[in-house]
């Protein structure tokens, strides 16, 4: 059976750490980077357990700053 696999990239310099994407991910795959900030001083988001990402795009859709790109493939 083919499996849908996804992965996301975050424009960490554009990210403001608002956490709306973290709330929106149904699989809880996103979190704020630990004790690190970008050049504006905002904590930024990282995708940690990316292996289970389905590429559903929820995180990217709710990001007000358009920081997230989602990629999806059929394995």
């Amino acid at each position: 059976m083919s499996k849908i696999r996804g992965a996301v990239t975050v424009d960490t310099e554009r990210c403001k750490g608002c956490s709306l994407c973290i709330e929106a991910c149904p699989l809880n795959l996103l979190s704020l980077a630990d004790k690190r900030v970008n050049h504006k001083g905002y904590p930024y988001v990282e995708q940690k357990n990316w292996e289970s990402c389905t590429g559903c795009t929820s995180c990217a859709i709710v990001c007000p700053d358009g920081c997230i790109s989602v990629y999806r493939v059929k394995e």
């Binding site: 696999r5 403001k16 990217a60 859709i61 007000p64 700053d65 989602v70 990629y71 394995e75």
Partner: protein, 260 residues
């Protein structure tokens, strides 16, 4: 499969709309303004109206909207966006013309321009970002501030005996004969964002086709003015704002006509 094998240009399914440029937006983290900018960009792209759209910016936090979306823009004096949009659309009838206004801009200083442009049936779309507060100037009470809601200028909460009642401009717009499509949406979940996008598309199509006026209110958050986090602001909005500002289409003359 490695992450590198998935992250390839041919596998891209969702990203920042190309009409939204790389200039960092000055909005606070999680601000609804960014979200609405994004869906406006997507709708204009989908309609292939990139070269034929003119937006009119307000005074308020969105005063710099023209920096972020690569379409034509005109800045208006505080509250006067619907008057400026009227002139633009009359002089340039083949353009998609919309205003982008906050609640202070639209419901207070610009209430007159808004009501008259809508009542004249100008072939424009009014996008109304209602966060129930003056975000830009530090969180003062707006005409739209909810009863009991605390702001910098009503620290004990809005009191109807002192401050009167919240002004519901979108409900008012329904009763104006010039309006064709009037709707109230939000952008706090994936489903809400999809609906809001469809609403903006419908309003924009009406505006292009000379069917007007059109008003799309987006019930929004201002976590800075509300003094909370963006995630909690969304919850507060769901629990408090939606009771007074009910979501959904309020008027659609085209739908009525198609059923007749």
């Amino acid at each position: 499969m490695t992450k590198e094998e998935i992250i390839r240009p041919e596998n891209l399914v969702c990203a920042k709309p190309t009409l939204m440029n790389d200039a960092p937006m000055h909005y606070c983290p999680g601000c609804s303004h960014g979200m609405v900018h994004k869906i406006i960009a997507e709708v204009i792209e989908e309609m292939q109206m990139e070269e034929k759209t003119v937006g009119v910016c307000p005074v308020g936090c969105a005063v710099f909207a023209y920096r972020y979306l690569d379409i034509d823009w005109q800045e208006a004096a505080h509250g006067r966006a619907p008057a400026v949009a009227t002139a633009l659309k009359r002089l340039w009838p083949d353009r998609l013309v919309f205003t982008y206004q906050g609640d202070g801009d639209l419901a207070c200083i610009g209430a007159c321009e808004t009501i008259h442009a809508l009542n004249r049936g100008e072939k424009i779309t009014v996008i109304f970002i209602n966060n129930a507060i003056y975000g830009m100037t530090g969180g003062q009470m707006a005409p739209t501030t909810l009863v009991g809601m605390k702001t910098a200028t009503c620290p004990y909460g809005r009191d109807v005996n002192l401050h009167g009642y919240p002004l519901n401009m979108t409900d008012l717009a329904v009763n104006l004969e010039g309006t064709a499509y009037v709707t109230r949406q939000s952008v706090h979940t994936v489903a809400a964002i999809r609906k809001a996008k469809r609403a903006i598309r419908k309003a924009f199509e009406n505006s292009i086709n000379g069917i007007g006026s059109n008003m799309v209110e987006i019930v929004s958050t201002c976590s800075a003015g509300w003094k909370t986090s963006p995630v909690k602001a969304n919850k507060w909005m769901e629990e408090n704002m939606f009771k007074y500002y009910r979501l959904g289409d309020l008027k659609d003359t085209q739908e009525i006509r198609s059923k007749e």
